[in-house]
């Protein structure tokens, strides 16, 4: 078994876009892209160090 860090595969990107298209949620994709950048910043700045219980429960 390997222990390398994963990145989004082409398959996942395809499935993700396919899912949003199928659900007629394409309008959410620009939002997703913008917030992806915010999320990357949060991860890089260790903003996820404290994750409260309902974040696990809900998100």
């Amino acid at each position: 078994m390997k222990d390398c860090a994963p990145v989004l595969s082409v398959r996942t990107v395809k499935d993700l876009v396919g899912h949003f298209a199928k659900q007629n949620r394409l309008v959410l994709i620009p939002l997703l892209v913008v917030l992806l950048l915010a999320a990357v910043l949060l991860v890089l700045t260790q903003g996820l160090a404290y994750v409260t219980p309902f974040v696990y429960a809900l998100f």
Binding site: L16, L28, L42, F59
Partner: protein, 565 residues
Amino acid sequence: MSATLGISANYHDAAAALVVDGTLVAAMQEERFSRIKNDPSLPLSAARACLSLARLDAKDLTRVVFYENPYRKLERVLTMSLRTFPRSLSQFPRALASQLSGKLQVLDELSSRLGVPRDRVLHREHHESHAASAFFLSPFERAAVLTVDAVGEETTTALWLGEGRTLTALERIAFPHSLGLLYSALTAWCGFEVNEGEYKVMGLAAFGQPRFRDEFRKLITLASDGSFSLGLDFFDSHTNTEVGFSPKLEALLGPRRLPGKPWDLTSEADRRVADVACTLQTVLEEALLGLARRAKERTGADALCLAGGVGLNAVANARLARESGFRDFFVQPAAGDAGAALGAAILGALDSGDARPAPLERLSLGLPVSSDDARTIAKNLGLVVTPLSGPDDVAELLAKGEILAFAEGRFEFGPRALGNRSLLALPTPIAVKERLNRVIKRREPFRPFAPAVLEAEAPKFFEPFAERLAPFMVTVAGVKPEARPSLEAITHVDGTARVQTVKADSPFGAIIDAVGRRTGTPVVLNTSLNGKGDPIVGSVADAFAFFLGHSADALVVDDVLIRKP
């Protein structure tokens, strides 16, 4: 050969389960390896352990099935955040970052870390996995299936019809209306940890009266068709991820109890908390009964299956068994998210053409302990080792009043210790309960302990109960008044006990039988082998770590007895 690995992870209590040629061969939670209670991280150690037990390699896996749909989950996070904007603004970046920093690419991560081609890594739906774990491990050919938890992708409650090898979705209730979230928010209000303290609320409820019915009518509306809706003003789970309720809840029920404050159930403040817990428990039971009646009406089935975290509420299960109108009832005993790994594995196996698995009869699905390892560790630690000749030796120690840390065979899957990783004692006197609660397990003094009783002898000591549930400790039974003096350490304040029945021809049953021959009562107190805040013991080394850190009288590992010098 077909081999399917089911995985649940990333929220709480991650687990792996392995089905080989239609047989459930192993299932384990990651917490038993990482020693982090309810560890949500990807269960790689558990997966490896499942494969090693089956003598398989990851390349042998036909498929790996993740228990929920990561894309639908992300969609729900986005849409709910937009709907609740701008209140959601404070939590939104964190929630999204949580999704994008691992949860969205979970299938890629499973493929990469396990070394399984990506096209063999699939996903199912969260409630479908729960439903599959309940129905396909039940003995029923046709049954209504209820799945009730906090939230999956967006479903919180679902009704299914199980027939043979198929599950058909019939009805669902969507987030944010959720019995699991109601219970969790009130768990936080009672001062307990969310996703962990729900058992404590259930135990506390027995000390209270349901005198807050009027207030709870504002929190939840139960409709005549079995559906329900929450009073959303009182819940704030997408903007307040710490406790999940809004200031309006405290205005309605009073200020939340401070976590960690010592309990005094003679005080007015703590009696009020007990009354809220009791009202919550009553309302939950009524909501579940409404769902069950709807399930009966919609399916006409004779049997009911239940899974999802709410299925761990043993008191509610007992009421469902009595009052739901179904002739038979099965609760998948690892009903929380860990158990959804079972369902994911079974769904994948059925897709591969495997036969439906045999009904679940035991939960000892983890790794075994070895007495040779125990001897070696004991010798290295300078502990005293004595060989045991059989169950009579263990029973003799229990009959003398000793509290034994007991590890035998493979560890259990799910939240209950059923005699493989248990602390055992006689069920009387009450001082046993006090010593266990206050000194060994260091938990709240009001919390009850469970009895393990020989199956054939149970009617002598307990009122009628759901026999199909009792082997897994997911129901309660009234303790007969005449039996209470000999069972005082396991009789809760309301006269009930979370009973576990054990077959006499099992290793644990042989010990209980031997205890019965000595004391006249074939019952032992059985509580999980873990310290406060720790997962239940898995390995021999974990058992020694517990024994050295706690004041149990002795440690039994298979056929050896270990004492401190």
